[in-house]
């Protein structure tokens, strides 16, 4: 999955960094809270998860439950690229990427699963420096 090369602007410049091309998933941040799946107007985010229990680490402590993500899929044939899922996510697990070259002959292949969404994260541009921040990111 190479970053977009050529055939963009006639000068060969890539699309602007905030272009809404595809959505990437940063799995480490995802807690399977289901908010993106619930807010999506097209019902195109499919999430499966299960609960795991972590035994207490201290004497008399409480067992912790953790949600573990099994399946996270976005159906890009349905997606309308509104960005509601990215805005709704409280944990910043979803990111925009300007990649757009993933058309193909198979409609079902447009449903991207976790692996593909993880790969799209490599194409997410770095966050621009915000003058309101105290330091650069």
């Amino acid at each position: 999955m190479t970053p977009n090369a050529g055939l963009s602007e006639p000068s060969g410049a890539p699309p602007p960094p905030r272009s809404r091309g595809v959505i990437g998933l940063h799995e480490a941040n995802c807690t399977s809270c289901m908010l993106c799946a619930r807010e999506c107007p097209d019902w195109c985010i499919y999430i499966d998860s299960h609960t795991e229990t972590q035994p207490a680490t201290t004497e008399g402590g409480r067992d912790r439950t953790r949600h573990v993500l099994d399946r996270f899929a976005i159906d890009f044939s349905l997606c309308m690229y509104c960005g509601i899922c990215i805005e709704a996510c409280p944990f910043d697990a979803l990111f925009w990427s300007p990649e757009f070259d993933y058309a193909g002959p198979d409609l079902l292949a447009l449903t991207h699963e976790r692996d593909q969404l993880r790969e799209w994260m490599t194409t997410v541009p770095p966050r621009p420096d915000d003058p309101a921040d105290g330091e650069a990111h």
């Binding site: 963009s8 006639p10 107007p41 097209d42 997606c79 309308m80 757009f100 058309a103 002959p105």
Partner: protein
Amino acid sequence: MGVTPLTIGSGPGGVGQLVAAEPMRFQVNLGRDFSLWVFNVGLACCAVEFVAASISRADIIRPGKTASTPGAAQAEVMVVSGTVTDKMAVAIKRIYDEMPEPKYVISFGSCSNCGGPYWDSYCVTKGVDQMIPVDVYVPGCPPRPEALLRSLLTLHDAIVSADAARS
């Protein structure tokens, strides 16, 4: 050289199969691919992106292989761009039937892929592939004009390797 069946006119009313050798198949495919005439069925917003693709900034002609056509009867590629309503679906089927073989369909945008944002509407056909066979699905709402160029190249590759889907 193996003998590979070359299918000619495999659509409705076609003449069936013609068995041909590999070089012949490659030659025919190259001929089909040489200059694809593109016809845009512009139904909604995606039509504007198609127009943007055909003007000089991101030019359809730049890859050197495609040209716009005045009507469906002269076209090889039909690009369905926009929402297909139930009422319009009948007309799209008729336009597709008017195209001579070999013909290919690009579904441009979410609405023609599977209904898109109007997936729950009372009057939208959820995907133009419910009426006609589609060769390339381009995701986007709307897809960039460059995505259309890319999808045409994908279609070119599919034609040359004779992988283009048939009904």
